[in-house]
Symmetry: C2
């Protein structure tokens, strides 16, 4: 039994510590995840964007740096998901992956991500490296779950959005239709968004635009927004 005060250095000499980020976004077709190709460009295997954790970096900093590198965004929703460290997940070496998940509004992200990374619909994923499929499944479950009791949907939208856009976001992530009147009642009652003076013009009647209340960020105790 090793304690903090007597670490056994050789136990971690060939362990590789990395962060990976599951970056979700939303386009008209649905929920997308950013993956980068590995190996053969003809029949690539895809992996989560990630990086080794630098000696002088926190895990959070590494993940944030990685997210910025791939999305071009400085401030985004980023949360630690889970740490994967099964010995069987990689044959060559001891691989510990601290996985984060991120939500970004597609309109703000850079068009072309580095390392040929690109977006994939979560319902139609390509061949994936190692246990990446499991990680993605868990990230998606957590995202859906989080949506039910917190206010995370806004992170995928531009600063100003219409209630229909917000509802459509929830529907795409949850994969089910929601009632328009009930949706509005609940989201407004939850008191986490506020109207702006702006409107969005479109095909029909213009839509009032709303924004996420900045002071609602702190403690979002909006449990079970959509049971």
């Amino acid at each position: 039994m090793q304690s903090l005060s007597t670490p056994e250095t050789n136990a971690i000499l060939s362990t590789h510590l990395e962060v990976r980020v599951v970056i979700f976004s939303l386009d008209t077709r649905g929920l997308q995840v950013l993956l980068r190709p590995l190996a053969d460009p003809q029949h690539p295997i895809w992996e989560l964007p990630g990086q080794a954790v630098g000696l002088d970096q926190s895990l959070d900093e590494s993940a944030s740096h990685c997210l910025t590198h791939y999305s071009g965004l400085q401030e985004s929703y980023l949360e630690q998901l889970y740490t994967y460290g099964d010995v069987k997940r990689c044959h060559e070496k001891r691989l510990v992956s601290v996985v984060y998940f991120a939500l970004i509004p597609l309109d703000k992200a850079i068009f072309k991500s580095p390392d040929h990374a690109c977006w994939h619909a979560v319902e139609k994923l390509p061949d994936l490296l190692l246990d990446t499929g499991d990680i993605l499944a868990y990230a998606l479950r957590r995202l859906r779950y989080k949506l039910e009791y917190s206010a995370v949907g806004f992170e995928l939208l531009p600063d100003n959005f219409s209630l229909s856009e917000l509802q459509s976001t929830y529907e795409k992530i949850l994969g089910e239709k929601l009632d328009k009147r009930n949706f509005r009642k609940r989201i407004l009652k939850a008191d986490i968004i506020e109207p702006t003076p702006h409107q969005r013009l479109g095909e029909g009647r213009p839509a009032r635009l709303y924004r996420y209340r900045p002071d609602a960020v702190a403690e979002v105790k909006t449990r079970r927004l959509f049971p």
Copy 2:
């Protein structure tokens, strides 16, 4: 940007990877956590039980091994909590702690834990190492939260328990009184416990004993048991 295929080995040469386990239990006084003393036996600083992760060990295996070492129990509730990897949390070295939390029934645990580890009431914690206080606060929050929507309370009780004992468990963890009739209605409706033929004799009328339904373990979708 480092990828899985080109790891920068020197970046992790002096990183220490360890697991720590927040082991909760319950006695008559309330919720307890197992801590082990560090340094001066007169004025000790306390830390979470933990160990370096062996090269041939999964994180889960390490945590499980550590839990068994300190509790004497083979099978217990054990779940990954969070991975702490801030550079500022330890001055001497790069310290990455994958923290788990565990729930054990006190009646089954060994009486004397190794390394002079002992139980402390969560409301009256001693001096703690580094960010151990933050970790404990988070573990407690997660435990309380989990109790509201899942069936985790049983893990702290013996195999057979009365409804009053179960209610008392919930009350001690949540820190509030619950209505006896409503509690019984809900816990029985949730269909996660079943009566046994046994009774517990005591000062008053004997109590029927219940047990956790083993087939209810798989997917406990009992959300918001106690809102």
